[in-house]
Subunit: 370 residues, 2 copies
């Protein structure tokens, strides 16, 4: 059985969270099924998830974790695209965002691998969380660690989602104030105390605090819709000059801010621009989503957070959201410029945006142990 490590922190034990661009062992995903979040019984979402898994599986193995009531269906749908690189494992969940409820894997320089199992409260708990209860999601990180045979640190009483952090693997972590200082996460902790937690559990020396995300209501502004590390010393950031775009203000502010930042090693960041969709993405057909007391209702015409920045880096490729938007091709081109040595694989994932996130939110990388 994988152990809980108690009494020490990753920093003390010499473990760090590697950059997403470092070599990976596999990608973990959770299967979508909530009829009160996803349109049309989650069938279109399942198709999108399968397409994402398929795209990733061309480059590295995928483990798709599926609630018991969906096991046969998932096996059947995935077998249609299966190249032998996608495993289907039973795992109960409350929804399908393993970036946020899954573990953050850590490595050391001696071939060791561990993970942080953050406290999870469905993006805000009883203050402004998205659903209740979330106890199955809370167990996901533990179950993944057990499957992977990886010992973990549990941050009892410290709430964090994996989508609210991005690291460079060399001592720098990037977050938003909007999310990490939100009263629904760790209201009893000061900014300095939160910095300390990040530094101790990710083994970082510097926290870059972007002010706002573009999603104030659902994730409370996760960094992974706004900016990420492309390589040590290099970040990508959403960018638009269209003053009428709903993300204009936050994108401009984040871009200008990041251009002035240095990382833990004192390097001034190189900032790559990533476009936003030409047209904002609004939820359609909300009537096909079930009503339930336990989940925040989705409404026709609400804005969906369709960010190209929410891509996933895998071995040799970038799995990039596409929305059927005029700027899809530009996003591919910009991603290729940032990652000249990786293949850019676009996947149509508007359906995932309708549900509240995108490719980065629905995946979790397990780094390769060297």
């Amino acid at each position: 059985m994988a152990k809980r490590i108690e009494g020490t922190t990753p920093k003390q034990d010499g473990y760090r969270m590697p950059g997403e661009f470092e070599e990976q062992e596999q990608i973990w995903m959770l299967w979508p099924w909530r009829n009160d979040n996803w349109r049309q019984g989650a069938k279109p979402a399942q198709k999108a998830y399968v397409n994402v898994a398929k795209a990733i599986s061309e480059f590295e193995p995928v483990t798709m974790c599926v609630p018991p009531t969906q096991y046969e269906n998932a096996i059947s749908r995935i077998s249609e695209v299966n190249n032998g690189n996608i495993r289907v494992i039973e795992m109960t969940s409350d929804d399908a965002w393993i970036r946020d409820c899954g573990p953050s894997f850590l490595v050391n320089d001696k071939g060791g691998i561990r993970a942080v199992d953050w406290e999870f409260n469905a993006w805000g708990g009883l203050v402004d969380g998205l659903y209740f209860p979330w106890h199955e999601d809370e167990l996901v990180a533990r179950k993944v660690c057990e499957l992977a045979g990886v010992d973990s640190y549990k941050t009892e009483g410290f709430v964090l989602e994996g989508g609210s952090i991005h690291v460079d693997g060399e001592g720098t972590v990037m977050v938003t104030e909007m999310c990490l200082l939100h009263p629904s996460r760790n209201p009893d902790k000061s900014k300095a105390e939160i910095e300390d937690m990040l530094k101790n559990y990710l083994n970082c020396d510097k926290v870059i605090w972007v002010k706002d995300g573009i999603d104030p209501y659902e994730t409370n502004g996760h960094i992974d819709d706004v900016a990420c590390f492309v390589a040590p010393g290099e970040v990508a950031c959403i960018y638009t000059e269209d003053k009428d775009h709903p993300f204009y203000k936050e994108a401009q502010a984040a871009y200008n801010f990041l251009c002035e930042q240095t990382d833990a090693k004192g390097r001034k960041l190189k900032v790559h621009k990533m476009c936003v969709t030409k047209l904002p993405c609004y939820l359609k057909d909300a009537d096909s989503i079930d009503y339930s007391e336990g989940a925040i209702p989705r409404e026709e015409g609400e804005i969906s957070i369709a960010s190209y920045l929410n891509f996933l880096i895998v071995n040799g490729a970038i799995i990039l959201p596409q929305y059927g938007d005029e700027n899809d091709a530009l996003a591919v081109e910009q991603a290729q410029a940032m990652f000249p040595d990786r293949k850019i694989v676009g996947v149509q994932t508007t359906e995932v945006a309708y549900g509240g996130g995108n490719i980065h939110c629905i995946t979790q990388q397990q780094p390769k142990v060297k």
Copy 2:
């Protein structure tokens, strides 16, 4: 994803089921939880299963598969005895008999491993099955194969439980007529057709048909309470000279029959005697078992099938049931005589007998690939 192999049989593909005494990779188990089968909310049964897992884990890894509602409890109970060799994985089930609903693993002589995923109908389906429904148990073999990364053959329309067969790994399979010819299993198939299925899916040339088991009502007479292979050419069989013992007739008949049999290679079988309990074991405290429409009720004073023969062979050891009976020590002694090179580890498992089986019934070995 592990594949379903279609259009061929293990025999055609050169795969055979190895003897249990051949080297193993790990043992699979399922966690007991049914309040309508186990006493006192299954808590005593869980303790017994943990003790069995602990005993095995001294010799090889164990994967304990646990329904989602029991995951935290199982993690907690197992962590008390954990030596790092027991994994706890989520798996929904209808009950906890992985010998019968799990896969039968197969190997070839080129380092390959596959499995047979038999059709499962809860020991008799709508004729005399023990509970309804059994659809989660039916998926257990598939889920285990997926976790193990092992391709499988599905015997659509052919019902069999792993506890109703024992093989020598060299072309012989031993079964009972009571079970395999029971009208609740494959009533549309003749004895010859059933022989063919066994030969094709286990890669055997000879079927040894013991007439009766000792458990006519629950398993309909599984062989694994009566006799098993100890080595090629050697079997163990239950034996008693006590004419008043409830298993006397069947034990005598099986012993005398096996003494006259030859195996697929023409060897006359050497038959080791395994005692039965001095006193029969009767269910107590049945009032602590829930009533449900879906399960056959257990009644105070019903006989429990407490057989020492229902042991498990693991690498370097025998995990042997103990019942607090006068003959416990004799069973250990007899097992040691059959297996001079293995350690005999007794585990108190009366509670498992109360639920309908014992150590062999609740475990499934995955052979080592050479």
